[in-house]
Symmetry: C2
Subunit: 482 residues, 2 copies
């Protein structure tokens, strides 16, 4: 790329000091007909352009306003003012594109704070705000760190299918995919819908997980990971649910549960360290915003740590590893449980843990990320390895402060006979999963993996509170705009 970004100019300005350079960007503010804050999206920081209005056509100057896009040629000098090391003395200014004055006052483009809800409806414009610029640059860094971690560790990226023929995992309600004309759906002789005539020759859905296909790839390539969209047709209008979200699912042949926990811990710490190392300016901004937000909350609900502090603490400590059985003991004996503070009181071993219990363990009891393992088999999926106690499976959940479960995974059941029994017990169709069972037939191996919801991790790292604010174009009930 031959063009210099504003990030490059600001970080490497010593190389261009007292030279003329060309920069491009959008006007964030234009103060006193003299100081333009120019931003090109490469960084949260603006480049100050100094305009001596005597040197410019008055008509040109009058057209420059917030959101105008400019090409500026000028000399780089050390800044006289506070707040920036460097500024540009403009010699030539070209307005690049249309900016219609009659619409100039449209609220969204004013240099003031907008509600996150308003910006969500203007998804195409929120990219120009400081906040969403920071969020989506961090999201990029998280994504790149994920690819880098796996590549360094000899994992291969596998694209599992988006359109699938079966709801085998039962992970949630699925969207149908069809090429039928809904006004004229073909029927067979019995009067049933004739899916054999649909595009794929059968009933198809959007995937809820790439895990099962990922496992089959790991059975040949050893270490694989997926990174792709997954879907849930659940009518959940909450700050934690999206109908379309991105999942990362590594799967490793020859790994057992402990290896899997080690991998999850190394992985999360790598990604968070990467963001700390590479997104300083954006994190500083988000850290300040987070602190501001805490102030407006009642004292009891405020976070104990600042955003950056929280990220540093996650890296500093070893995650606490606790069996489900131990966790139930702790919860049963807790003041909170005894005094009836939990909405769902814990009564006995076997209970499914709620978010309130997970957060109690992480935020109050251990005060660090917690990995729970060996869950009762009844509350976990069919593909998890049955432990020798015949009561628990080799499942693991990583719990994070403020967010609860961030990773869920397990060692997989590698024994064909045990897997078949589990599938029968849990009413999973063997015939639909013939190919999955085949991987246990021909040189089955112990293997393990987990799933991470990308948006959950980005929420954690950015300190945002609504999951719709960390994905560029959120898909939720009654909303598929853009």
């Amino acid at each position: 790329m031959k063009k210099q970004t504003i990030k490059e100019v600001l970080e490497g300005y010593k190389k261009v000091l007292h030279h003329d350079i060309t920069v491009y960007g959008w006007v964030r503010t234009f103060r006193a007909n003299r100081f333009i804050a120019l931003n090109d999206g490469s960084t949260i920081n603006n480049l100050q352009i100094v305009v001596d209005f005597e040197n410019f056509d008055q008509e040109l100057i009058s057209k420059i306003s917030t959101a105008s896009s400019l090409k500026v040629v000028g000399e780089v000098i050390e800044s006289q003012g506070a707040g920036q090391a460097v500024e540009i003395i403009a010699k030539k200014i070209i307005i690049l594109g249309d900016n219609f004055t009659e619409e100039r006052d449209k609220t969204i483009l004013q240099p003031k704070k907008h509600s996150l809800e308003v910006l969500r409806e203007q998804a195409h414009l929120r990219f120009r705000t400081n906040l969403f610029g920071a969020v989506f640059r961090v999201r990029h860094a998280v994504s790149f760190a994920i690819h880098s971690f796996f590549n360094q560790n000899q994992f291969f990226y596998i694209n599992t299918p988006i359109v699938t023929g079966a709801d085998a995992e039962g992970a949630g309600e699925m969207f149908g995919v069809t090429n039928f004309d809904l006004n004229n759906i073909p029927r067979d002789e019995q009067g049933d819908i004739d899916f054999a005539q649909d595009f794929f020759g059968k009933k198809t859905n959007l995937t809820v997980s790439g895990q099962l296909e990922g496992e089959t790839a790991a059975m040949g390539l050893g270490r694989i990971y997926t990174f792709g969209p997954t879907f849930r047709a659940e009518n959940s209008n909450t700050t934690r649910h999206l109908a379309e979200f991105w999942m990362i699912e590594p799967e490793v042949a020859f790994n057992n549960l402990e290896d899997n926990i080690d991998l999850a811990e190394d992985f999360l710490k790598y990604v968070i360290q990467y963001v700390l190392d590479n997104c300083k300016d954006d994190l500083d901004f988000l850290d300040k915003r987070f602190a501001e937000e805490q102030k407006s909350k009642p004292e009891k609900e405020r976070a104990k740590e600042g955003l950056i502090e929280k990220l540093e603490n996650v890296i500093a400590k070893r995650f606490k590893r606790v069996s489900y059985t131990e966790a139930i003991e702790i919860l049963l004996n807790s003041k909170e449980n005894k005094k009836g503070k939990f909405a769902y009181p814990i009564e006995e071993w076997g209970a499914d843990l709620q978010s309130e219990h997970e957060r109690f363990l992480v935020e109050k009891h251990f005060e660090c990320p917690v990995v729970l393992f060996d869950y009762p088999k009844e509350i976990k999926a069919f593909y998890m390895k049955l432990n020798d106690d015949n009561k628990t499976v080799a499942a693991m959940d990583v719990l994070f402060p403020g967010i609860g479960e961030i990773i869920g995974g397990s060692e997989r059941e590698a024994r064909l006979d045990v897997l078949k029994t589990k599938m029968a017990e849990m009413h999973v169709d063997e015939h639909e999963l013939w190919w999955y069972l085949d991987t246990r037939r021909f040189g089955s191996v112990p293997h393990a993996g987990f799933g991470l919801g990308l948006e959950r991790l980005v929420l954690f790292v950015t300190g945002m509170t609504n999951i719709r604010d960390v994905i560029p174009f959120p898909r939720t009930p009654k909303n598929a705009e853009f």
Copy 2:
């Protein structure tokens, strides 16, 4: 990751020579009850395990066969035999998983060549073959190189939506996405399907391109790229079409057509160089396979270059940049056209170029990759910038030997009034694309981008001929298995 992969052992064996190590893998072959070729997917190369059968239980030895999975502890020594630098003298062998002898002779697991068609139906097992191991390791490398290139050049990864509300671009037939019970579709008072009651409150489809959303992101973040699945509901049973495939779409604010061509050329060369640098063993294997395949063809149809040679040549030469108008001149004056050799003869300026014309230009006339630009506006999409001649648009296609178009892109129409006129002419609904038009309202800027089909590039790099063989789980008409 604490476990050593076979790749690590083979590449770094000097560190572990005469030490005991532990390795894991699947048996590729077991010769003379003595030599096991062990593979763990990390590399195409096998590790030789030497078994002195006198030291092992005969029953254990008898269970080891092709596809068995093993854990082996043994001493690393320099190999006595040809073909490998190093081997392991086994001290302990553990069979890790079930391998059912009664099914052992299932054709697919025999150590022989299988047809690609058979393997496609056994997608879960083809990962264990040399060929598909190589293909999917290369696919990983291509993907990682793509992310690395964009990250280095300050692009941000943007996830554009998979489920969308509109077929605005008109790039192809779309799959419907619905949560309706197809046996009981709600109707409104007029008797029409009441999409307001569907999950998203409107008719939705699977995306055909993330470009328009990508443009809106670039209008704030400057440089972005997408990397995600796209869909076409076209009933094309060919070696070049998939119903579900992965696209990469960069978009850059302030770039014009020439910048865009430069970016495409730098990008392709970076990715191909990365694969040459990082996939030597797999490429050597694919190169040999490619050469074998050529031998079976009639001499006229054989490729002029070997696979690796072809990749090196793409990097060595500057791509030839030719306007559409020049290309038409060349084609009109070609012997091929005059003698009626083209299935679609070129008669005049304005003709849409077919694959045969593209390949003539690349393979016969210029003998190097070609970038065609400035196409007639009638044969290109509505969002491309109208040139001053009022006849052509600032479109560009990158054409590669053997494959034709590998990249298609353009400078975008940044002028609101021109864009609106174009949309009206081409019957694109303004109201559906209000948000797209908005980006031309508030600080519109020149910008440009392109699209690359990942599978096309992997086809080119691996020398495979059927696009179904370069994606792990192909989706095609009447096929959504796995």
